[in-house]
């Protein structure tokens, strides 16, 4: 119970909508608030936060997409004007300023699309959207200190913390069904 409270599972239950926009699949997750508390704290402290989104399709719910499309954003918060700015680094670089928190998140999500190339009309597929913050590498510790300090360092060494990440899966979809509801 405590573990669940302290380390909630990164898989977030969200309603995923998908629509066809020409030859692109566009995702819609109205309840997704990927700017978590700690990320917002960093943004309010004037620090820019890098996000990577990966979107891909899979034949079933539990498998991983083989060649997902990747999108990189940098989000920052104007500490005087108290508005958000988003820079889309790749693909199609673009930046936009004076956004509210929800508008900044919406800009990122609206930017994300997946080509329908290679998906047959009646093929059932699941959509997976992953996001995570990418932190700069932490400063490394010089070896030294007392034996106790070294032991603590060894036992506490761990992978770089992901402050905010999540995976959203939706489906099954098919292009033919999406074309009907367009």
């Amino acid at each position: 119970m405590i573990s669940l409270l302290l380390w909630p599972a990164p898989l977030v239950a969200q309603t995923v909508g998908l629509k066809l926009d020409g030859e692109q699949l566009r995702v819609s997750v109205p309840q997704l608030h990927f700017l978590g508390t700690e990320v917002l704290q960093r943004l309010h402290n004037g620090i820019a936060v890098n996000y990577v989104f990966k979107i891909g399709i899979t034949p079933n719910r539990d498998s991983k997409p083989t060649s997902p499309a990747s999108y990189r954003f940098v989000i920052s918060y104007d500490i005087f004007e108290q508005k958000f700015a988003v820079s889309r680094i790749e693909p199609n670089p673009r930046s936009i300023t004076h956004l509210s928190e929800s508008a900044a998140q919406l800009f990122c999500l609206d930017s994300i699309a997946l080509s329908t190339a290679g998906i047959s009309a009646d093929q059932a597929f699941w959509l997976t959207l992953e996001y995570q913050t990418v932190e700069p590498k932490p400063a490394t510790t010089e070896s030294g200190g007392t034996l106790m300090e070294q032991l603590i360092d060894v036992f506490s060494r761990k992978a770089q913390r992901q402050e905010s990440r999540g995976t959203i899966t939706g489906g099954p979809f098919s292009l033919s069904e999406l074309r009907k509801t367009r």
């Binding site: 700690e38 402290n45 620090i47 940098v74 500490i79 820079s87 680094i89 930046s95 400063a139 360092d153």
Partner: protein
């Protein structure tokens, strides 16, 4: 109303004068912050050069910023001006960055939670070179890495950008935050009427989100009894919530004054010999300056009379505390808390009461605190005003009752002279002036029971920071400052016996 209109008019005139002054300023040079100018097209670089020597024109600067954005659409581009080398000249800066805050000029670079002396002079000098230039995330992060390299056993260093005192100016702050650490500490104090109190602590913190601690305590200053024993605690923090669980086991010792008063009042049955307590709680950070703490306390008391037996006291606890600055200069600070303990009803236990405690304070610093200071005593002059109000309804155990007359409140008085059995009502106020060398205060307060008359007690106090007064070298300065010898004088006509105190923490 008339004055406001005149003030508004003067402000508008001043603003237009500034705008005219800036408009007529000559551009001394242009600077690109955030990326290399080589990223621009040759035409754009040429047009940037043409601006030098011309009068500053905000519209022209905005057009150049838009052209940069067209060439580099992934960046946020803004133009700003910095003072030139001579009056009437400006440096036109184009901040090209992913972080929108790159448009602001760095006003100062400071440290928090670590001492400047841990850094080399060269690094500190290089860091200060950011002042006067737009925020450059890459450069600022490189300094953080250099700091981690220079400091032995470096803490995790967090960088923040805060609003500065001047418009469009910011402060860059490097703050040492918890990583894995083992900490040892202690506090000790002496009151000439209540004798020694002390606490020794050992703690282990895991990456700032989990920790354990143990405290050895022998204290006569906080409660009506002297209590001695150990307190064990564990905590874990996740996002805005900090879970805490404490277990303590204390042996109680009662002063002769309290025993005599209880004997006279026929309340000796209120005394306990042992007090074991389990106290889980959750502290929620609503905003950085506002917290709510919710928890329960279950105490088991080994009562002494009429025969040895156990009683339990269970309370549900709530506390809201806040602190915030009234100005960006952080000179004026308001802080306070409201604490409530409720016992009885569905919680079970033998006691039924409600305890309210309101504590409010205002601090005014005449000079900003040195952010690099390790000490609890600010260098600058300061004035603080504090008041507390307490109220208990029902029958509270001894450890919940209010008292005044300790090293912390009404220093010139002894709590066993004022109210040896504690009381259900309390009002207290103090005004303190302090500086680098001394701290002096006037305190006034009263404790009483519902329906009884109130007596107001006043005292004045003086504490000395001997290490600073004697200008001793470290670590003697730190140790003597921590000892902080003091005197409290009760303000009354007869029997004016001062109370001497020592106290501090390391």
């Amino acid at each position: 109303m008339k004055l406001r209109a005149i003030a508004l008019l003067l402000s508008l005139l001043a603003a237009s004068a500034i705008a005219r002054g800036q408009a007529s300023a000559t551009i001394e040079k242009t600077e690109i912050s955030g990326i290399s100018e080589d990223s621009f097209s040759a035409a754009l670089r040429g047009d940037l050069q043409k601006l030098v020597g011309q009068s500053y024109d905000e519209k022209a600067a905005t057009q150049i910023a838009e052209r940069i954005h067209t060439e580099l659409p992934e960046y946020v581009v803004t133009s700003t001006t910095a003072a030139g080398s001579q009056p009437g000249r400006v440096v036109l800066v184009f901040a090209v960055a992913h972080n929108i805050n790159a448009r602001y000029i760095v006003e100062s670079v400071d440290l928090k939670g670590m001492d400047k002396s841990k850094l080399s002079e060269g690094l500190w000098t290089d860091m200060q070179k950011m002042v006067g230039h737009p925020v450059d995330d890459a450069a600022a992060d490189q300094f953080r890495e250099r700091m981690a390299t220079e400091i032995k056993n470096p803490p995790h260093i967090r960088r923040t950008v805060e609003r500065g005192n001047d418009p469009q100016h910011v402060r860059i702050l490097y703050e040492a935050v918890d990583r894995n650490s083992i900490g040892f500490g202690g506090t000790g104090g002496y009151h000439s009427r209540q004798k020694f109190s002390g606490r020794a602590s050992a703690s282990y913190t895991f990456y700032g989100f989990m920790g354990v601690k143990v405290d050895g305590i022998n204290d006569s200053s906080n409660l009506l009894e002297r209590y001695a024993g150990f307190q064990y605690g564990a905590w874990s923090a996740y996002k805005r919530v900090r879970f805490n669980a404490d277990y303590s086991s204390f042996r109680a010792q009662w002063s002769p004054g309290t025993l005599q008063a209880a004997s006279a009042a026929g309340t000796s049955a209120d005394f306990y010999r042992l007090r074991d307590t389990i106290e889980p709680s959750a502290k929620i950070t609503v905003t950085p300056g506002f917290h709510i703490t919710l928890g329960v306390t279950a105490s088991q008391l080994q009562m002494q009379e009429p025969v040895s037996h156990f009683e339990s006291v269970r309370t549900a606890n709530g506390k809201a505390d806040y602190s915030f600055y009234l100005s960006s200069s952080e000179k004026h600070e308001l802080a306070g808390s409201y604490d409530i303990h409720v016992a009885g009803d569905t919680l079970g236990g033998s006691a039924s009461f409600t305890r309210h405690l309101l504590d409010q304070s205002y601090n005014f610093k005449l000079k900003g605190k040195d952010p690099t200071s390790q000490f609890a005593f600010p260098d600058g002059h300061r004035i603080s005003v504090d008041f507390q109000l307490g109220r208990i309804t029902g029958s509270a155990p001894m450890f919940e009752r209010f008292s005044l007359g300790s090293p912390h409140t009404l220093t010139g008085w002894n709590k066993y002279d004022i109210s040896p059995l504690g009381a259900s009502r309390m009002a207290y106020g103090s005004v303190t002036y302090g500086n680098k060398y001394i701290s002096t205060n006037f305190e006034s307060g009263s404790v009483w029971n519902d329906g009884q008359s109130k007596t107001l007690y006043n005292s004045v106090g003086l504490n000395l920071l001997l290490g600073n007064i004697l200008h001793l070298p470290q670590p003697f300065r730190f140790l003597l400052n921590a000892a902080v010898p003091g005197i409290g004088i009760p303000l009354r006509k007869n029997d004016v016996r001062p109370v001497f105190t020592l106290g501090g923490g390391i």
